[in-house]
Amino acid sequence: MKILHNIGEYFILMARTFSQPTKSSLIRKQILFEINSLGLGSMGIITIISAFMGAVITLQTASNIDSALIPDYTVGFTARQSMILEFSTTIIALILAGKVGSNIASEIGMMRVTEQIDALEIMGVNSASYLIVPKIIAAVFINPFLAIWSMFVGISGGYLVAEFSGVVSTDAYIEGVQLDFKMFSIYYALIKTVVFAFIITSIPAFYGYNVKGGALEVGIASTRGVVTSSIVILIANYVITQLLLI
């Protein structure tokens, strides 16, 4: 019952968030701030994780190919497909759910407990719209760029491993990366990224917005926001894949 109640409350908050928009001049500045904070602030961690993940995928694939019947370019092909279809979208989304989600839940939660949200309401501002819309717009806009950057860095990480470790020749790796490339894979990845960006921002914002109490409750809300958004990302990942790829 509690889950159904929360789902209902979430949709009511989302309806309120988008029904009475805040002045565009105010929200524009906030969107730019959030693009910098939520998006560009995550570039470092995304770069490091993607590079190492591309490198590890390359090493693991190469070390597991025993048969002479399997061509060497399979390594590059596997690295590309893994990065585009799953890693740069779902895994990066799960990492961002932890980093960005906890940040959003605790920021909005602290605003709730220090009465800053009440102050917005008293001023006649739709606090849900003012606080949540810029975060959603910023993430939906910037996360596809982060995903593409992650794909590029991951595949490059695999190339560097091929170059320096010698597990596969760079020519074979490049051939695999280019083999049977379908543009739809990128569209599929970007559609997932946009949906995940909405989940990563809106669910933690919901938990932060509804905090009651003090610092302890803000911490609990932050944890719940991260856990719930991670689970919803996995469910959404399955549903989108079923709808678009099968």
Partner: protein
């Protein structure tokens, strides 16, 4: 003038307010006093619309606020200034941007006009020159004064102050009290102050309402409170040794 009629509010099965009727007059400092958990803050939140009363009505200059649509409520809220217990300044904005915020939302002013208004409001609370500081860089008393500056930036008709003296030293408390009183008289605002500070009651209590267990238990002025024949009120007012000595002297 603000008028509350038969306000009831409960949370789950706990009744917090039991049919409160009260009138807050224009140009007067109206104080709501009571022990912690008596329902003062809930009453104030019902008055400003941060909570919906279960029953009863709130009238702002004769207009029924509880029955208004969102647009009507927005219009009333433009006329409300509120000072929160912790200041509730926006952490990510400077003092100047905090005071400009309501102006940006509701006033059609140029940047220059807004800057002039900010400087006027800061000057009015004796806080000139701190425009570029962030809330975290100023003291609690300064935050309260900036909170007042923000509350008066749109020239409100109604000013609400929730525990304006909590966490402040006695001299700053008196300063804040006097500022509230001056602004109320100067701009003929309907001011409501939620407090349990007896010094405030004796300094600025034009009209005092005592809330006990969700009921309006007593109503009067700072001049009549010391002689009130009400046990629960006396327990609150004369809780400290200082006030007991005041009673003996009076």
């Amino acid at each position: 003038m603000i008028e509350l009629k038969n306000i009831h509010k409960s949370f789950s099965d706990k009744q917090v307010l039991h049919g409160i009727d009260v009138q807050y007059e224009k140009g007067k400092t109206n104080l709501i006093i009571g022990a912690s958990g008596s329902g003062k803050s809930v009453l104030t939140k019902c008055t400003v619309g941060l909570m919906e009363p279960d029953q009863g009505s709130v009238f702002y200059d004769g207009q029924d606020f509880t029955k208004m649509q969102l647009d009507g409520k927005k219009e009333i809220r433009k006329k409300i200034g509120m000072l929160f217990q912790g200041g509730a300044l926006f952490d990510s904005l400077t003092v100047e941007e905090n005071i400009k915020f309501p102006l940006r939302m509701h006033a059609s002013m140029t940047e220059k006009e807004m800057e002039d208004r900010v400087n006027f409001c800061l000057g009015r609370v004796d806080m000139s020159g701190i425009n570029d500081r962030f809330p975290a860089e100023i003291s609690g008393g300064m935050q309260k004064r900036v909170g007042i500056a923000r509350a008066i930036s749109l020239q409100p008709s109604y000013l609400f102050c929730d525990e304006p003296n909590s966490g402040l030293d006695p001299s700053t408390s008196i300063l804040i009290d006097n500022l509230i009183k001056e602004l109320t008289e100067e701009y003929q605002i309907t001011t409501i102050v939620v407090t349990h500070d007896m010094n405030s009651v004796m300094e600025i209590g034009d009209h005092v309402i005592f809330i006990h267990k969700g009921h309006k238990h007593w109503e009067g002025t700072k001049d009549t409170i010391l002689k009130a024949n009400n046990k629960e009120l006396s327990d609150l007012v004369f809780a400290s040794d200082l006030m007991k000595k005041v009673r003996q002297l009076s």
